[in-house]
Symmetry: C2
């Protein structure tokens, strides 16, 4: 493919207009939106409005007048539209880790008599940490089985309360088949919690269509909600009457402002909230989600996969360094929207690209990871990034002694 071909794709791209909606520095090709999404231009004015007008002028009155109190549910309802959930099934609260703790304990409450939490090794580790912490806390009332991904499905059994899986792997981008796994778990009476951190805003999913039970996800990747944005959680409507969060707090109470001494959880998704909602984070997240809602999720996914395919093809067409290996599924349908390569000098490769304004990610020990966020990346930019990386691989700066000498002092 020539650069002109890539430009031709851009001219025909119905998502191209979103490129102007983000605040990205000139000269930067940002292939790390899967770690921290860039700032939507509108988020700056939104934050200024919250800070100066709602907080500064409105003061405490803004809990009602600026509808702060509704923000967790309102933004949750918007995220629901992106992942095939209904209004009232998603709420924004806490971090992904804390939300997983709530839902994993909640899943045990939905499956009394079952003790096993089943999950995968080698995925983004906070999920295993949360489950390890929960089982440590619960002692002999719960146990964690963490198996290699290939062994997970066969291990679902009559003692499995819940299977916890990350839909799109943080390094390889390998996707689980959500429908098939959910069906397999349900066949054994187990529930599934899907971690949608690399899914929401990227890969088109329809939680209700596949009969999903529970899900968590973060706000700061493809939802472009800002650094450490609050996270979301999903509880299918059919589970809401029975699930119990272990984190009982005043904002999850049926009548928070009655200041009763005894907890009575709110019905519906609000029962999953604990403390006072983080309004600044919610405001930024809402700006990111609002932008995402303007794009068709199927188109978003298709473009992201096409960008990734282009990147792989251009790198490989340049006669790749034999040490460079694709560490993601070659078939687009098996992937999320990022691509990883392994290379013994992956760290040096990523640093050299950053020096040229192309921001990707190094993941120890030898992975160079690149995310293809469809809203702000053009085909031409991805073409440029691929050829820059091919140039860097061809130049092999790391073979020259002065490279390591320089690296040692900087």
């Amino acid at each position: 493919m020539t650069r002109q071909d890539a430009q031709g794709f851009d001219l025909a791209d119905p998502l191209a207009r979103f490129g102007d909606a983000f605040d990205l520095p000139k000269g930067v090709i940002y292939l790390d939106g899967n770690s921290l999404g860039p700032a939507p231009l509108k988020v700056h004015e939104r934050l200024e409005k919250v800070s100066r007008h709602e907080w500064g002028e409105g003061l405490v009155r803004s809990w009602n007048s600026a509808r702060w109190i509704e923000a967790p549910g309102r933004v949750g309802d918007k995220i629901a539209q992106l992942i095939g959930a209904k209004a009232g099934e998603v709420v924004v609260a806490d971090s992904t880790s804390v939300n997983l703790f709530k839902l994993a304990a909640g899943a045990l409450s939905l499956r009394p008599g079952r003790k096993t939490l089943l999950s995968e090794t080698g995925s983004f580790p906070t999920n295993l940490y949360v489950l390890q912490g929960l089982t440590h806390l619960l002692g002999d009332r719960a146990q964690l089985k963490a198996l290699a991904p290939a062994e997970v499905v066969a291990a679902i059994d009559e003692d499995t309360a819940v299977v916890v899986l990350t839909h799109v792997h943080f390094k390889s981008a390998q996707r689980w088949d959500m429908a098939a796994i959910t069906a397999a778990a349900h066949a054994k009476g187990a529930l599934v919690i899907w971690d949608l951190c690399h899914t929401a805003g990227a890969v088109a999913v329809d939680l209700n269509d596949i009969g999903a039970d529970l899900a968590v996800g973060c706000g700061y990747k493809y939802l472009n909600g800002g650094p450490g944005a609050p996270a979301f959680l999903f509880v299918a409507e059919r589970h809401q009457a029975l699930i119990q969060s272990p984190l009982w707090g005043w904002m999850g109470h049926a009548t928070p402002f009655a200041f009763e001494d005894n907890y009575r959880g709110a019905s519906g998704i609000r029962g999953q909230i604990t403390g006072t909602p983080p309004i600044l984070g919610l405001a930024a997240l809402e700006a990111g989600v609002d932008l995402q809602l303007e794009a068709d999720p199927a188109r978003v996914e298709a473009k992201g996969l096409a960008l990734a395919d282009l990147f792989i093809a251009e790198i490989e067409s340049r006669g790749a360094d034999p040490a460079l290996k694709l560490a993601s599924p070659r078939e687009a349908g098996q992937r999320g929207l990022h691509v990883s390569f392994s290379h013994p000098e992956a760290y040096a490769v990523v640093q050299a690209m950053i020096a040229r304004g192309i921001i990707g990610d190094f993941r120890a020990p030898d992975i160079a990871r690149f995310g293809f966020s469809p809203l702000f990346l053009s085909y031409a930019a991805v073409w440029d990034a691929a050829h820059a990386m091919a140039d860097i691989l061809a130049a092999r700066a790391w073979d020259r002694p002065e490279f390591h000498a320089r690296a040692a002092v900087t």
Copy 2:
């Protein structure tokens, strides 16, 4: 006292200069900084810098270049200076409720063999909710005793793992004697968790001086950290090696970026962090804390108590409505920095004051609550507020039928 006397106090007030450091609407007397502190003027530019420069231009690089990753500990160290803690004993994370869950479970881990969590009824209820949720989760491995405040101390016994008390009561402002309670608990081998929501930035405390074990507190009251600001928690250095948070997440791992499958908690206070830090909330909180650090805590407390005394005295000197009763301790040393009155028409009184630009708080069923944040309130403003309230009480608008007719339609 005349208004001129009050103005004389302002002229002599070493904290008066802080009045210009806050963004408060003209004509408003804000007596609700104990619910949501107002915006420091500098917070607006700080948020704009984070949004446009650090997030917009710096993108993912700002985790290091803008020191985002250090923010929970850095802001924690600053809060430590306000509450008599050492660097490394305080961290900013999550909400007050979630932090209490972590420390209450952590206290059980520090006192194996003891099952009782002891707390008070009638205080801000999220604390009881959190403890109820934790004991519900742990089944017969823990129990909650929630007693009337007067019965708490006598109930500390050999089975008490931890006593959970709110230092300054959210309605009455009644203070616990932190030193005496802590000593009484230690005498029985129990720990104490202090809730400092209405204390930090208001009442001068010295956690290490009194041998405090554990504490939590919120960022959005007297620390002026913004709506839903992240909360803080304190773990005395001597407990840090053994305490275990039940919420294991990647940011509390000894080496988060090694992506190991097994949790190894970070040593020190960082082991109390769970998910990715909320950078926008932390930035706003840091601006509020930075301002607070410029004031001497003892002076802050003394002025707040003097303002409250002035308010009580002026209201009462006007020949108070006999239905108006002080619902806070009369003696300043027994109080935090807010004052509550009970009145059968408290709701109407608070609404009438708000209509005159004096923002206080109604707390069901019959409490009018007024906070006296020392950094931005002048003696003259408090004098004005007291006389406005006395006027409203004298006018007795609620005795006229048209008042209720109007209230019914608005």
